[in-house]
């Protein structure tokens, strides 16, 4: 499973999501030009991790989801955001394909997600962890490494 996801920023050398070695679990290095992009790329990384085999929208009725999560800080918000997505993957095989952020604050975010229910997924995520989680400022924006317990 190729994990590197290009950022779509037009810069072919910038990788939005790449897999990082972790002995027991799966870890992703996520980049984004700003916090919203970071959250978006993190979502795409999560969906790649679970390895969906659904065929996408054709033939499948679209599913709409609303997200509203709170946390103590930006890292916590990233964890809560991804945890919400992981919950829907586990309970409904829901895969988001279009994400619109309605509100992104320091400790709260709201989003509307369109997607579909996949036929199956390859892997479930037990939990999104806080392990070594720090959102870093880089010359190109933000980056964070998220460890998923799988």
């Amino acid at each position: 499973m190729g994990m590197d996801i290009q950022s779509g920023s037009g810069d072919p050398t910038e990788t939005a999501v790449s897999e990082v070695d972790h002995t027991a679990d799966d870890a992703l290095l996520i980049r984004g030009a700003d916090y919203g992009k970071l959250l978006q790329n993190a979502a795409m990384g999560l969906y790649r991790l679970v390895g969906t085999t659904g065929t996408g929208m054709p033939g499948k009725p679209p599913v709409e989801k609303q997200v509203s999560v709170d946390a103590q800080d930006a890292e916590g918000l990233l964890v809560e955001w991804l945890s919400e997505l992981a919950f829907w993957v586990e309970t409904e095989f829901f895969i988001g394909s279009d994400i619109r952020f309605l509100e992104i604050g320091d400790r709260h975010l709201k989003a509307a997600i369109s997607g579909y229910r996949a036929d199956r997924v390859e892997k479930l995520i037990k939990a999104v962890t806080y392990h070594d989680l720090k959102i870093l400022v880089t010359p190109d924006g933000l980056e964070a490494t998220v460890v998923f317990d799988v």
């Binding site: 897999e19 027991a24 919950f87 997924v121 939990a127 806080y130 070594d132």
Partner: protein, 483 residues
């Protein structure tokens, strides 16, 4: 990162990082290993994580890790840390997301030669009747009220509803029910995740195995457990599924705030904690116990299906196909126990994350059957390798809070395993050794390849030589069901 220069060798298989080594350490950090495994241990961050656990408020005696230790998050996998009551801390990260992940061992009166003609049928029956893999729901559907009863009563619910025998409960750690469990502390989201997953194996490193007992080390202990050479036995390895994962997530989130309120400065956010006698600490303990009860029932329902599969395949073909329970252990748990600290019996909360309770002879917590010999300790290997049954010792009670290793421990990341192992070739290689694999995912199979794990033979040899558990029997796989 901790370097080899900071490590003191205390004995052939025990190493220590003194408390003076790093700021914030309240006790020394000790770990069981040998020179070969030590090279891998210093190569990842497990020792840094072990040192971090030695900084937890209320930690007593020493922070420990077993020879199968590897980097986790917060605590290392293989970690054992005890905190004093009443005001030492409890940390969800010291239990892990898969609360009461554990192993159950069932024995039989069958021998390898008798069952050989029926192994393919048995593999198919087990794969069909024991839901495994992603998204597979269980056969038992629970109402919300029944789920709460499972969380509060554990295996007693299974007994009441015809899925267990009295002996099953006697031969389960804590009788399959942790007192103090509280369904009310388990979130609705956790219950949603767990509602349809009861009686399922899950995926990852969870499995059901039909094994042959291929070597007996301790005849007296083996006889007491009902083990004999050439015997057919069955292992079940799984935990609390999405319910337990969510309980841990809920309280790791809640404790982010609590830890700050109690003034704890922690090097890793997965180490968040609260005092055992605080409302937060008590709430987590009750919810963790409820999730643990769920896992006991999970393994009980799978055992029930395994028994029925054996009956379906073997009834009319073989006599005495019934399976009896040898023991069921947890290897992700926090328990309130009494241990001798500085010569005095002291109540502590023992966190075991990827470590197994290994109580020695005469421990009152053990069932009558095992009181004379010590607790059965079940240490599964990985696909294609041996698994082991050991027995707890008095030395474990003195030196390791009555604890021992839990398995082989990973040495290779999942990414590396997927790159370096061809799943189809692995399956064929195992088949050539007579091991029938039924797996839901080829990528998952590669991730769980034996090459991704430490040498389990070496791991159990270390705990045996260190005296914290005694080798009793070795099991070799014949059928492996994986998610």
């Amino acid at each position: 990162m901790i370097s080899t220069k900071q490590i003191v060798k205390k004995s052939d298989h025990l190493y220590e990082i003194p408390a003076s080594c790093c700021d914030g350490m309240r006790v020394p950090a000790r770990f069981y290993s040998d020179e070969r495994l030590l090279k891998g241990v210093v190569g990842d961050r497990s020792l840094d994580q072990l040192v971090n656990t030695a900084c937890l408020p209320g930690v007593v005696k020493h922070a420990l890790a077993m020879p199968d230790m590897h980097q986790g998050y917060g605590f290392p996998i293989g970690g054992v840390v005890a905190t004093r009551l009443p005001d030492g801390v409890i940390s969800p990260g010291g239990v892990g997301y898969d609360i009461n992940c554990g192993v159950r061992l069932l024995g039989s009166q069958l021998e390898k030669g008798q069952i050989a003609p029926y192994l393919d049928d048995l593999a198919a029956a087990l794969h069909a009747s024991c839901p495994s893999g992603v998204g597979k729901g269980g056969q038992v559907r629970l109402s919300p009220k029944a789920l709460d009863a499972v969380l509060d009563s554990g295996s007693r619910w299974a007994l009441k509803n015809g899925f267990a025998t009295d002996t099953d409960l006697e031969h389960t750690e804590e009788g399959g029910c942790l007192p103090g469990a509280g369904a009310s502390g388990v979130s609705q989201r956790a219950k949603q995740r767990g509602q349809n997953q009861i009686g399922t194996l899950g995926a990852g490193n969870h499995f059901i195995e039909v094994d042959e007992v291929d070597h007996i080390y301790d005849e007296k202990a083996a006889r007491q457990m009902g083990l004999f050479p050439g015997q057919i036995a069955v292992q079940v390895h799984c935990g609390s599924r999405g319910l337990g994962h969510q309980v841990c997530s809920d309280y790791v989130k809640a404790f982010q705030k609590s830890s700050r309120q109690y003034g704890y400065r922690l090097p890793d956010r997965e180490l968040v904690c609260a005092p055992l006698d605080s409302p937060e600490g008590e709430a987590y303990l009750a919810a963790m116990q409820a999730a643990a009860n769920y896992a006991f029932v999970n393994r009980q329902l799978l055992a029930d299906q395994i028994r029925k599969s054996f009956e379906r395949v073997l009834a009319g073909r073989l006599k005495r196909f019934q399976l009896f329970q040898i023991y069921d252990i947890a290897h992700n748990m926090a328990k309130i126990e009494t241990h001798r600290i500085a010569g005095r019996p002291t109540r502590v909360c023992v966190h075991r994350k990827g470590a197994t309770r290994a109580f020695g002879p005469q421990s009152p917590e053990l069932p009558d059957t095992y009181r004379a010999i010590g607790q059965p300790v079940l240490v599964p290997g990985s696909m294609g390798t041996a698994s082991y049954v050991l027995t707890g010792t008095r030395r474990a009670m003195r030196h390791s809070f009555g604890s021992c290793c839990h398995g082989a421990g990973r040495r290779m990341s999942r990414k590396q395993a997927r790159k370096s192992v061809q799943a189809a070739a692995l399956r064929d290689e195992l088949a050539s050794k007579g091991i029938r694999i039924r797996a839901g995912s080829m990528a998952g199979l590669a991730e769980e390849a034996p090459a991704a794990y430490k040498d389990v033979d070496r791991v159990v040899a270390i705990v045996h030589k260190a005296g914290i558990a005694r080798l009793t029997a070795r099991l070799k796989p014949m059928v492996v069901i994986k998610g």
